[in-house]
């Protein structure tokens, strides 16, 4: 057993979709969250910069004495997960492998699409992982650089959001039966995405899938939190406005959130 918190990192607020799923599946675990909203989106930045920013968040989480780090960000996972995982002596999870595995299990017709940031799509890591595990699958991918700014500005219900999602995803409609939301911001746009793609298309939430893995690894490494002291003190940090962060976080998590603004 290990009563230290689990650390989550993301370029902004998208990783909260993973935290929400954690709170549902593992309600006794404590969270430290860092979202780098002042530098979001990561997805269109150069690799070396993403790598540096990710390490800054990792080091911040380590200073908070976390027992595990979750890359609740596909872009950071694509760029730096393997490196960070190999260098730390606590478990480090990414969102890509859980998402890829879930999609392989979900597809009936063998046609999958992945949407993500420019960097995630350019890295081609989803296609690579899916096809290593299942070479016969047809994998399409599409960068959606306009989605993260919509989520970060809390405009997920606006008519602009609907228009952008519709126009962006049009090339995929009718082409696949499974769509990986390869960016943790995208579940906040899920109703619109589902509407555009059609109800028969399975949406794979890479972050939610990742929580199943968190649970298994807590067991494997025997670092679950004891249920004796139920007083949880989640901590949220952002590099941008804490007010804006709290608004999105409270709306999404349905709990009171008092984040602190920090500089990385």
């Amino acid at each position: 057993m290990d009563n230290r918190p689990i650390g989550f990192l993301d370029s902004g607020v998208g990783g909260l979709t993973v935290v929400k799923e954690l709170m549902r599946q593992l309600p006794d675990e404590e969270v430290v969250y860092i979202g780098d909203s002042s530098r979001a989106p990561y997805g269109s930045r150069p690799v070396e910069q993403i790598r540096k920013f990710t390490w800054e968040m990792v080091n911040f989480l380590l200073s908070k004495n976390v027992k595990m780090i979750v890359f609740a960000c596909n872009t950071a996972t694509a760029v730096a997960w393997e490196e960070v995982k190999s260098k730390l002596d606590i478990p480090v999870l990414g969102v890509i492998l859980p998402g890829a595995s879930a999609a392989i299990k979900a597809t009936q017709i063998g046609k999958i699409a992945i949407i993500g940031t420019v960097m995630t799509i350019k890295s081609d890591i989803y296609r690579e992982k899916v096809q290593l595990l299942s070479p016969s699958l047809a994998v399409k991918s599409l960068a959606c650089p306009k989605f993260v700014p919509i989520v970060e500005s809390n405009e997920t219900k606006s008519s602009v959001a609907k228009k952008v999602v519709y126009q962006t995803l049009k090339p995929l409609v009718g082409q696949v039966d499974t769509l990986i939301l390869g960016c943790t911001h995208y579940p906040l746009l899920r109703p619109i995405i589902q509407n555009v793609m059609g109800n028969e298309v399975k949406l794979i939430d890479s972050g939610a899938e990742c929580v199943r893995d968190i649970s298994v690894l807590l067991n494997y490494f025997e670092i679950n939190r004891e249920r004796i002291d139920l007083k949880l003190r989640h901590q949220f940090f952002t590099t941008a406005s804490s007010q804006a962060f709290d608004q999105i976080a409270e709306n999404w998590l349905q709990i009171p959130v008092k984040s602190r603004t920090i500089k990385l």
Copy 2:
């Protein structure tokens, strides 16, 4: 990726229930199985002996160049899993934590029972793990020393089996809504157990739960088998009659099995 096989060990044929689930969930992974039927059941033996026998099986599997070892045996898990896991540099999985976690999620009324061998029940490890994760749950446990011999002698459909299961489980009927099959032999008696306990009781198959964890750990350690070469060569070894083993294995796995008898 890692194309080496996964090693499974059990006191006898019970671990085949885990292998069956593996073949369903992860059909591309290759299996090396060792069942120590000549010395089964382990459950009533002294701890030191179980520990020694388990290490003999572990070393046998290591000689077969496995990439992961699965303790498909609750008794061996209770006695030696933590020690073996801490000494090897490949992942080592047990069946107890996955089973305990699944039961906690499954129960609606907070009343769980565990059935297992004398040793598994005496170790109290299931209760310990369940109550660490969820102290408020009421946990009953019951040793069922007569079940393994029935399975090992391939009499799971006999009237004797029905009578023994009925008489053994009587004290638990109506007491719980979730029953952990805390021995990998017991799923072979599942229809009878379900019948005795009633259809509303959830039976947790610790072995099947464990396969979910195998999948996550293959991802986490990046040791999935590539799907490029689909020619799988599963290997089965027993310390007793290979004919008797093959009969049970073919019946259970529904594939041709040619096991080899070895001496540990």
